[in-house]
């Protein structure tokens, strides 16, 4: 009989999508998702302690078994290709807007970016970084967009709360007048982020600082 921890390793090895704690619990017939999480954690520790080439990563609401970044040079050599298609700057900025304001319509994205975002949205849909979440009940009933799990995986994010905090809200220009009133006040924390945050796993160093510094 293999040990549970080995089975967890196999599950993560075989799956192409992040495996949720609840799924691990279901497959292994465990008592709670917490027990599953414990197992994954001990697997993570074991891989780390043994200095293995693989690591457990928590992304998109589940766990993945991935290679360590140090191994990348050899993998690139193996693949005989250096290029991995990356998103353009407009695409990344559009993703940022959608990530924070979802569900959001194209006119709103356009207003923030100051240019038409049709082609960019089409590209993001094509790459499954975003999907249509419905229609907005406003003139023209435009589509509403939201980010996908693939987005979280592509950027190594556990969930949306992993996005850096921004100084102030991301505001649609139509609402700019109310925003102007808040300007003198200290910047409020981003609400969504604050609500969903897990304080133990917060990483304030990387995101928040950089964003405030550059604006």
């Amino acid at each position: 009989m293999p040990e549970l921890i080995d089975v967890v390793e196999a599950l993560l090895f075989a799956s192409d999508t992040p495996v949720e704690a609840s799924r691990v619990q279901e497959v292994l017939d465990l008592d709670s998702p917490a027990a599953a999480r414990d197992l994954v954690d001990s697997l993570r520790r074991r891989l780390d302690a043994e200095g293995r080439a693989l690591q457990v990563m928590e992304v998109g609401g589940g766990f993945r078994l991935v290679t360590r970044p140090e191994i990348a040079p050899w993998l690139v050599k193996l693949a005989r290709s250096r290029t991995r298609s990356r998103l353009s700057r407009p695409s990344l900025e559009t993703l940022a807007i959608i990530g924070y304001r979802q569900p959001v319509s194209r006119p709103e994205v356009d207003a923030i970016r100051g240019v038409n975002s049709d082609a960019v949205l089409e590209n993001l849909l094509e790459r499954r970084m975003i999907r249509i979440a419905g229609r907005k009940e406003s003139p023209g009933r435009p589509f509403l967009y939201e980010t996908t799990r693939e987005f979280l995986v592509a950027f190594g994010l556990r969930d949306l709360a992993d996005l850096p905090k921004v100084e102030g809200e991301l505001i649609v220009p139509e609402l700019a007048e109310t925003a102007a009133a808040q300007l003198t006040e200290p910047p409020p924390e981003h609400e969504e982020t604050a609500a969903a945050d897990d304080p133990a796993e917060q990483d304030p160093g990387s995101g928040g600082d950089r964003v405030t510094a550059s604006s």
């Binding site: 078994l65 100051g114 240019v115």
Partner: protein
């Protein structure tokens, strides 16, 4: 990333006014860049400086499309409008620019949009870094496991479905409809058609065989076929009056044999009000096959 590199490069070199403008993705991007190079506070825009520089840059922008060009122009118009609203003539010592109420509101909105865009741009840069980090990490992208039997509905967006549908429709469109030529009429075929019909019914009307279209060719072919059948003794034809309906009857003797394997075919023996009437005088007991084939007519009658 090239855009950003270009922007920062521009910031470094920009003591004169040489910037690689084409890398700006929109008017806000350009405006933000100008503010940065002038080390301008985003909540205290200097309209004179920014408008002049914006217009200078605009001349060298190569627009990708009309719409983008339009958005640059709208921004230019806004800036010029605001600048025109400056109440006092320029005073180099005075950093404050005084506007009327509407202008002030417009300026504030512009500043807010700029700050907003600055945040978005910073977030975009943050995402770019994350993306770069992720390119060093490799995980499975295709499953070793057989696909689940239930389709994961949460991952199916309307958009994907719509796209799949559209692809199907496009495929369908690409298939050019084939022109189907109607078979040329042939007397021989019409003859066998009529014989086939006569197997399941006792009599036919000429008009029903010739078709409802009353095409001349149809009538000619049908008549020729009928005459040929009569000549061969496989059918009989009666016409009660001049130009009246021709009733075609099977010639009992000769049709009996092929009729053995006949099956009741209600569709073909169809509405022929005269049929039962004509049937009645037929002498003698019917063979099994023929009795069966006569049924549809009877049931119709009943």
């Amino acid at each position: 990333m090239t855009g950003q590199e270009a922007a920062t490069q521009g910031a470094v070199q920009d003591s004169g006014i040489t910037v690689r403008v084409e890398s700006f993705v929109g008017p806000l991007d350009l405006l933000l860049h100008l503010c940065r190079t002038n080390e301008m506070d985003l909540s205290r825009l200097s309209l004179r400086t920014i408008t002049d520089q914006y217009l200078t840059h605009l001349e060298s922008v190569r627009f990708q499309d009309l719409e983008t060009a339009g958005s640059f122009m709208v921004m230019a118009a806004t800036l010029i409008y605001l600048k025109s609203k400056l109440l006092l003539p320029a005073n180099p010592d005075d950093a404050d620019e005084v506007l009327d109420e509407e202008g002030e509101l417009l300026k504030r909105e512009l500043e807010e949009r700029l700050r907003e865009y600055a945040r978005v741009k910073a977030l975009g840069a943050w995402l770019a870094e994350r993306e770069a980090e992720q390119t060093l990490i490799f995980g499975r992208t295709t499953a070793e496991l057989p696909p689940p039997e239930d389709i994961p509905l949460e991952d199916l967006s309307v958009h994907l479905l719509q796209r799949a549908m559209q692809r199907l429709i496009e495929d369908q469109k690409r298939r050019v409809p084939r022109e189907v030529e109607p078979n040329p009429l042939s007397v021989l075929e019409r003859m066998s058609e009529m014989l086939e019909l006569l197997r399941s019914t006792w009599s036919l009307l000429f008009s029903s065989v010739a078709g409802p279209g009353r095409l001349r060719a149809e009538w000619v072919v049908t008549l020729l076929a009928l005459l040929e059948l009569v000549r061969l003794g496989q059918a009989r034809a009666r016409q009660a009056e001049l130009f009246g309906e021709i009733v075609i009857e099977r010639n009992a003797v000769s049709v009996r044999e092929p009729a053995r394997d006949a099956e009741p075919a209600p569709g073909e023996s169809a509405p022929d009000p005269q049929a039962p009437h004509l049937q009645a005088p037929h002498p003698g007991p019917l063979p099994e096959g023929e009795r069966a084939s006569a049924e549809p007519g009877e049931s119709l009658n009943a």
